[in-house]
Each structure stands twice: as C-alpha cells, then as structure tokens.
Symmetry: C2
C-alpha cells in the first residue's frame, strides 16, 4: 500500500488493569493506579531520559492492543462512527470526534503524571500515575508534557463530561474481603470501582447483576444498586 508506513513497538506499559472492563475512560481519572513503563532493551537507555525529571507529566502514545495487534494497515477495521460508552452506548458520533479504538490508526494518547524514573538493573523504568490502559499495552512514544502548548484549560469538551460532573459510586467492601488485597492495592481498587466500570447503558437497569472485574490478579465481583457498589467476592486468578 502506497500510504502504509512501518513503526515499531518500543516498550510496554504494565499495571493492575487485568481486563478492558475497569480501565478508566480517560487518563488522570484514577491516579491511585501506578503503571510501569518499560522500554525494550534497544531503547532502555538512561541518557534517553536526561532532563525528563523537570517535567511533572508525560504523554504516552500507545497501541490499542485488544483485537488490533495482529491486523495489517488497511485490513484493520475502522468505523466512521462509534458509540461512546459515556453517551449510553446508543448514540453515534464520528470516530474523529471520539477517542475510540476503532480508528484508522489505533493509537492511544494519555497524559500521565511522572512519579519517578527508577534506575533498575536493566535500565530506567518510568513510574506514572493515571494511565488509562490495559496491562501489557504496547508503547510507541514518550513525550514531555509541555504545558504552554498542550494545556488548553479553556477548551470546550463537546460531549465529554468532566469528572466533577460525572457520577461517582459509593463503594462498600467487607473488611475481610479487603484484607485479601495487598495494602498498596486497596485505595486503587476503591478508586477504580467508584468510577462505575459498567457500560453507561447498564446504569439505569433494575435487575441486580453481578459483574466481574480483573484487577491486580484478582477477579473482583460486585453488584450495583442505585449509587452504591458492593463488592461481593474477591477471587485470586
């Protein structure tokens, strides 16, 4: 194909999001979840990060990997319109008016807070907060967040509802269930659940259904009634 180009995966993003269900809908919503950004050996060089500690945030450019990784350009499915979960799943908007994965080039873009550049044995690892990607997501690029060019706080956000206007659930979990989780994973799980991981079109349903979410190596089973989310079981996977 004439307009095809080859890029390369330069690393991966690792975190506790074991499944698509539960991953926040945008970056920055759940800063309690920390991701490790690990480059492949070719790119994992301390000098490539020189000067980055002066920046509080970075951009991650990554690949929507679920259902896309093996497709060739041009064979991959894209759809001119998509149904964003936040619009209840029944309203169609253009793919270029959405952050949906079903785009011609399935590249994701996330602003994350840079916590630390850890110098590990095999080279530097970035610890970042607030990524909205699945564990193991392939990485294409890391860029510094340049506030004077990237931050447009007065921008109009269309149908994307800011979090202060978004519903948050009250999360109930029995102490003996919570105790099964390592202490450092607890605030993160509670924050993920408070975001209401259900598809928006489930939120109005009457019947009580049990959902399962994969987080930090556990299958977290929960039910929602009104504004209350109750964890009913935690199963190690």
């Amino acid at each position: 194909m004439e307009n095809e180009l080859k890029l390369q995966i330069i690393g991966h993003i690792y975190n506790d999001y074991g499944g698509k269900f539960g991953v926040p809908r945008q970056s920055g919503l759940v800063e309690e979840v920390i991701s490790r950004v690990v480059l492949l050996p070719e790119f994992r060089r301390a000098e490539a990060f020189r000067g980055l500690t002066g920046f509080s945030h970075v951009w991650l450019l990554w690949l929507f990997s679920e259902g896309f990784a093996s497709g060739e350009a041009g064979e991959r499915e894209w759809q001119p319109t998509v149904r964003p979960p936040r619009l209840g799943g029944n309203q169609r908007v253009g793919v270029f008016a959405s952050r949906s994965p079903n785009r011609p080039n399935p590249i994701g873009l996330s602003a994350v807070r840079l916590l630390e550049i850890a110098q590990e044995e095999d080279g530097p690892v970035l610890l970042v907060a607030g990524a909205d990607v699945l564990n193991g997501t392939p990485l294409l690029d890391i860029k510094p967040y340049v506030p004077y060019a990237d931050a447009r706080p007065q921008a109009q956000g269309g149908f994307a509802v800011p979090p202060e206007q978004a519903r948050r659930l009250q999360v109930q979990i029995a102490p003996e269930l919570l105790a099964q989780l390592p202490p450092d994973k607890r605030p993160a799980l509670l924050a993920v659940l408070a975001e209401d991981p259900r598809p928006a079109y489930h939120a109005g349903r009457q019947e009580v259904r049990t959902y399962g979410l994969s987080f930090a190596g556990f299958n977290v089973r929960f039910q929602v009634q009104g504004e209350v989310l109750r964890v009913v079981a935690l199963e190690q996977t």
Copy 2:
C-alpha cells in the same frame, strides 16, 4: 522485525509553511496561520466528524516527514539524546524529554484550535489554527481535545520556556514589500517573524546575516539586529 507494526497515512496538513525554517516550535504559538486538514478519499467522510463541532480544539497526530518518510522502522535514525533549539543547540537532553523528530517513531503531536469543518465538494476539510507543521505533512489521526483529561495547566514544563517568557522580535517591513503579500497572509507572516525563526545559537551573533524563510509561496529575506527583525526582500517562488 517482531515489534514492527504497519500504520497508514490518512491525509495531509496544508498551510503556508514552505520550509522547516519558520515553523513555530510548538503548537498554538502562531494562531494566525490556518491549516487545512484534508483526508484521503477513503477517510474523508462527513459522518466520521459527527459531533466534533462541539469541541474547540483537536489533536493532530502526524508524521515528521522531512528525512523520515522513506525510512523503514528500525532503519530509521533515532538518537538517545538531542539538542533542543531553545537550549541554544549546545545542550543535550534525552529524546524522550524532547519533542524532537529524531525519535524511534517519528510521530508529532499538536493541539490546534478547530475553526471550521468546511463541507467541500469532495467531502469535509478541517480548518485549524496554530499547527506547528510543515506544508504537506502526513496525518495519522485526529482526536478531540478532552480538557478534563488533556489539560494539565499546573504541569511543570521542565526546560520548555512558555511564550510569555520567550523573546519576541519587533518586525519592520516596508509598506511596498508588505503590499506584495495577499492581505490575509500579512498578519500571519508578521506573527511568524516575531517568533524569531533563527536557531537560538544565532541570536547572540554580532555579524548581520540575511536569512530566507519560505512562507505562502514567497521567499522572505530578513536580517536581525538586537530585538528588531527587518524584512529586506520578498521574492515570489
């Protein structure tokens, strides 16, 4: 290569920046320059933009095309460290701490203001303000700017100096020279020149040199003394 992936060019960005010299260093610096974002026929469909007019800004993901377009992944040159022009060209920082083109995947990222989605005969064209790309730049993606996730006005910008702290030049141009330019190009050229297109390491030089900048089909020749930039000739190219 195992970690190679194929993406596709979905369109191009057209504007008055005829050469790399003169393109602003970040997006949003020169909003006087308007770019046309034109998709290839396969992607140029009105419904793919449905809902986008509610957003005031969009992200453009594009390809650094100068010196990169023909390279294969893995054969392309990337450098672990680069010399950002704003640091005077003599200080090295890591490529992941910069927005330099010499990155493993030469993808550029620009927040631009969405002025209009023009419905032209062959389909929609996006008119955007503030792009920091060369005329003809290949496009990979358009995403809505979601302020609650993308705008982090409190972020620390490392060595990237915000424009209010940046030097601006006073631009002098004789009326008979300015008259050669179409009226709608004049404010844009003046704004581009005021940004001081010279490499930072030239700014302190004593000798008066004549520079040439390609803009809107003209070769704009100018000299700088102190804080004053004087246009000495305009030649149609």
